[in-house]
């Protein structure tokens, strides 16, 4: 198992270098530059040249790439001009917030999705199955940002049960209860689509397994239905559910971009959108590299988990 993990980690290095090359040159190619964004209407060629020199953007492109890469390898991601602080501080703070939101949404969609799928499969074509399938279809079909706005209107403006936006009460807030309160609406909005997808796939994975001979054997031996489903069938079905969870985790993180804008959640999606429009090159690059690294790492974790469940995969 150790060598398998090592192999996967080594294979991740070229991926990350590829990401850094891509994001660097895409940012270099998009029109407009940081000096224009800083100066806005006052961007005379003279002022632009001065700002570019101050920011070190007057050096040749390839040289800039290697300076950036070299600094990054020593842990220096540069300084964000639009936030006026080290890129890594901003990225880590923001990414932490995104992980809280996406993490809660992910737990929510995994638990609810698998549960719904299992119930659906156990009661195939029954009332519960039909109800769940119907609800899931609606969930998959609603764009999450739209659902977010609807949730704000109903639960924040009409019923006044939850706050409209933000992460903590702005004055005298803080603490886990305050955080949970602010998490309910955005995490729900974010989880809905993924819940639907996971429920659909769990259902078919379960149905597949339930048709296997060993399940019939288990039933024939007189094992209780609940044990057959939760013990025998679900464990086998998890082998095909886990990769789906891995993919959905990626979708939840990227879907957080919209949700963060709607709920003013100070996460990395909101940060990247702003950084791009302000041409804060170093912040965009640093943010993308960190997110990509986490994504790659997460995929490795998923693969390892799958290998643990199903030893055939390693070979």
């Amino acid at each position: 198992m150790g060598s398998y993990i090592l192999k996967r980690l080594v294979a991740a290095i070229p991926v990350l270098i590829g990401v850094s090359v891509l994001v660097f040159f895409i940012m270099a190619m998009i029109p407009g530059d940081p000096a224009l964004a800083i100066l806005g209407a006052y961007a005379t060629p003279e002022n632009v040249a001065k700002i570019n020199a101050d920011l070190g953007l007057d050096k040749p492109l390839v040289q800039r790439y290697f300076i950036w890469l070299g600094n990054m390898l020593t842990g220096d991601f540069g300084r964000s001009y639009s936030q006026n602080k080290p890129v890594i501080d901003e990225v880590m703070g923001r990414f932490g917030n995104t992980l809280i939101l996406a993490g809660v949404a992910f737990v929510l969609c995994s638990v609810l999705g698998i549960l719904a799928g299992v119930v659906s499969a156990a009661r195939q074509y029954g009332l519960a199955d039909k109800l769940i399938t119907f609800t899931v279809l609606i969930g998959i079909s609603i764009p999450s940002f739209f659902l977010g706005m609807i949730l704000i209107i109903i639960f924040a403006l009409k019923l006044r049960m939850f706050p409209v936006s933000g992460m903590y009460l702005i004055y005298g807030g803080g603490g886990p209860v305050d955080l949970m309160n602010h998490l309910v609406l955005p995490a729900s909005a974010l989880a809905v689509v993924a819940t639907g997808v996971i429920a659909r796939l769990s259902r078919s994975a379960m149905l597949e397994v339930l048709r296997q001979d060993y399940i019939r054997t288990a039933r024939a031996k007189g094992v209780g239905e609940r044990r057959v489903i939760m013990g025998h069938a679900l464990k086998a079905a998890m082998v095909s559910i886990i990769p789906v969870l891995g993919i959905q985790a990626g979708f939840v993180v990227s879907g957080a971009v919209y949700i963060e804008m709607v709920f003013d959640w100070p996460g990395i999606g909101q940060m990247l959108v702003n950084a791009i429009s302000q041409r804060d090159v170093l912040l965009v690059q640093g943010g993308v590299v960190v997110v990509a690294a986490c994504y790659v790492l997460f995929n490795i974790v998923v693969d390892v988990a799958q290998a643990l469940l199903d030893p055939r995969i390693k070979s």
Binding site: L55, V164, G224
Partner: protein, 522 residues
Amino acid sequence: MTLFNWTRRAVLAAGAALALAPMAATAQTPEGVLIVGQVAEPKSLDPAAVTAVNDFRILVNLYEGLTRYKPGTLEVAPGLAESWEVSEDGTEYTFTLRSGVTFHDGTPFNAEAVKFNFDRMLNEDHPFHNTGPFPLAFFFSSVEETTAVDETTVKFKLSAPYAPFLSNLAYPTGLMVSPAAVEAGGADFGRSPVGTGPFKFVEWRANEAVVIDKYEDYWGEPAGAQAVVFRPIEDANTRVAEMIAGGIDMMVEVPPTALSQFEGDGFNVVEQAGPHVWFLILNAKEGPLADKKVRQAVNYAINKEAIVNDVLEGTAEVAAGPTPPAFAWAYNDSLSPYPYDPEKAKALLAEAGAEGASLTFYVTEGGSGMLDPVAMGTAIQADLAAVGLDVSIETYEWNTFLGNVNPGLEGKADMAEMAWMTNDPDTLPYLALRTDAWPDKGGFNSGYYSNPEVDALLEEARTAVDQEKRAELYKQMQEIVQEDAPWAFIANWKQNAVTNDRVENFTLEPSFLLQLEKVVKK
């Protein structure tokens, strides 16, 4: 059946848990604490380092400049300087400073502090010049030397007479920071700012809030609120929702379409016209618009009333010329806007032989001061089509747009949208209407307008020391420019804000700066 029972129990349990969940989420904001919904996280709270109105809104409550704008006007009044004298030739300004003023860190505000501020910004050898970059330092580029004559006297020597100097001092770039705090904070000074203003900095929680408290030892009238919290909420709809829910007491930049939600009881909508003008740059160098008659025809053909009332929902007024009326002292109020007159436009086009001409029109998706540029551009396109002009729109994201427009429209486009907010009537025409401001000379005259008379008037106004004389020159300039029509003059934006009924004494300033010292929060 076990499984079904189990899930039914789970559903019941979940329902109960939901019902018990904390319900009192929307607490009222506390008394004496004003919570302001901003449009973005500030970049920095170092006044010399920032350019955005969003940041200025916080800064003007923490800091003060040597001069300030007289409330309700764009006229210069004493700030940290009690009085000043200008030499005959307009190149020497001597300021007498208010005595007994201290920065929030307890260090004294004096002539040395003023010198430190300007040297830091302008002198590349200054030990703290590296706390920049200072993108708007060129506002003071005519300053050759700053001298601290004695504790309360400071003298500026300018390289040439420069009349906007006094109003530039009132602009946020001229706000005075504490030298001791810059020395202590270095490049991070902008995250722990120290000024002399009615509020002092308390904390900046990244992406969450900037908190400022009443400064008890303020030299002037003490602030009306105990504390102000600036909260960035980037999405305009979310900002509106927070305002309705009571999470914030005040919001700026209300989207025109949301204004009707605040018409009822419990809210006050405040409006104020400011030094803003929205116009089309017309390419006077080549193509059909090189003919003055065609440029005038464009001005006649556009239904400006419909744009400000329907597209902008009354949040702007029709512009008459290049200078916004907010510069009351320099504005020529005998000018009236080009009337909406398609027939006249058609006649002018026929005279110029430009019927049915094709025009390329640069439109931006959004940008500072651009209001609703796509909808406005489309309305203009339709108006011009009605007089037989075939306009094709090219839309760009703001930075790309500036990258296309600022180097000049030649060979690319016939017209482009643009908007400016300035602090002095000199700035915009000087940078965007003179022959010496063509893009190849480093200016913003992207439509290549050139009129020697206008050039002469603007040069003279910039070096005239007497304000009445300057006003006279600007008024003449406006008349000529309106007639020459290098731009299509469209709108002057009225800035707006909404407060709830617990906020008192709030007004918006024509400078678009958010002065909160008098505001009381019940």
